[in-house]
Symmetry: C2
Subunit: 266 residues, 2 copies
């Protein structure tokens, strides 16, 4: 089964376009054990999400052990829920192939994020895994994004040129885009350029993006394929023993808000 | 000691601006054991290089064990030789901080490569390690580089805008740039924008870049700070038992050629 089908199945079953970013931060975690923490979050929320998205940085910062935890955790996530490896990798052909192997074959992700700065031959080794999805960074949610992504060339900002290239490269139908919720107008523009692609939308919650516009501008014509990612707001909803239940409560609330905005958007 | 001093010391001691890319590829390696292979290469060449540059992709492709090998190998490289972690990482502030910790504190690299697409706040957590060097991807050596890096905005190609931003961001004096040897005119231009920065120059050998122009256009006014990276041409110089000696022979030849071109460039 390809990624889009798996995503749509999970989303329809759980009535959710919420994705939880599994980003364990030792300074914020209510328990010391990363695997135990993630397992508790997954157990408490797996009927409320369309996907999980671990960011590799948080596991790499834990050393070799962190990668072992990540590998084990990916296997423990219920098989019907797609897992997006947020790796933002980029390298030239030969090396990109090694990264694609690491993310799709070794770690077993259903999808991965990649950085487009190196151009087509850095993306091709990823999209050649036709059952996997490749989310290309387009317009990121951070302040510094404007340094380069909004530079105009022939009248178009770079992020729009990236969106157009992604559309052109999408011969296997397995490319998606990362577009931050913090810039609703840009999100709207990207959705108009790529009306059918899954969009991975971070920047809600801790980063300040507005949920209503993220959903309203992010969904496709059927009100789907806008993957709303939330990390810290859910993971660290409580510093106490009840952290998993607190995470579930926040996740359920956001899941329902997203659905409300989806019905308004249509 | 900061990176530049360590680099200059190693370079002057070994009379070399050659950097060897430690990129173990199981399909090309003459022995099965990655650690044993790397140790043999390092032992045979550590008096001929100014730096080593392992690319993380090749270790990640080996799974958790690969990262353990990388961690151990970095410790085994002679302490006077700087080690550049070729990671090409990119993420927003909070997460970039976790990547910087992974590369500089956990794996212990002296320098790392980063991708600029996400802008200043994705680079800042790396440069805040003032004794470490941050090589920002500027003009990469691959064919697809032109997809975005050569787009013009206000008359300047994106890679030149990146070089100018890097110069502006270089408040701690610990930023370098990655510029491929495959585009000599672009290399010349970048060197003119950043006359004093260390330039990491891949693309010689297997990728077809011309060594004479890479050195001629890459060095600074003193004929230094052009780090010429070669990987496959040295690592896989022989498929037989003599691979380490064969690697040494090729490394020595390139080291000497670089020095010849350096003296002509001045």
């Amino acid at each position: 089964m390809n990624f889009t089908d798996k995503l749509l199945d999970a989303s329809r079953k759980n009535k959710s376009w919420l994705c939880i970013g599994l980003d364990p931060d030792p300074e914020l975690m209510p328990v010391a054990d990363v695997l135990q923490f993630n397992e508790a979050i997954i157990e408490a929320t797996s009927d409320l999400v369309c996907a999980y998205k671990p960011n590799l940085a948080f596991y790499e910062a834990l050393g070799t052990e962190g990668l072992a935890i990540l590998e084990r955790m990916v296997k423990e996530i219920p098989g019907n829920i797609p897992v997006i490896g947020d790796a933002k990798r980029s390298d030239i052909g030969n090396t990109a192939r090694a990264y694609a192997k690491a993310l799709f074959s070794v770690l077993g992700f259903d999808a991965a994020t990649v950085n487009p700065y190196l151009g087509y031959d850095s993306v091709e080794p990823f999209i050649s895994y036709e059952d996997k999805e490749v989310f290309i960074l387009c317009r990121t949610s951070n302040k510094g994004a404007t340094d380069f992504q909004n530079l105009r060339s022939d009248g178009l900002p770079l992020y729009e040129i990236v969106a157009r290239k992604a559309r052109e490269w999408n011969i296997h139908g397995n490319i998606g885009l990362v577009v931050g919720a913090t810039y609703p107008e840009e999100l709207k523009k990207v959705r108009s350029i790529c009306p059918e692609m899954p969009l991975l939308i971070p920047g809600i919650g801790a980063q300040g993006g507005d949920l209503a516009s993220a959903v309203g501008y992010g969904v496709d014509a059927r009100g789907e394929k806008a993957i709303i990612n939330v990390s810290r707001q859910i993971l660290y909803a409580s510093k106490e023993k009840d952290f998993a239940q607190a995470a579930r409560n926040v996740a359920e609330k956001i899941r329902n808000q997203v659905n409300d905005y989806r019905s308004k958007a249509r």
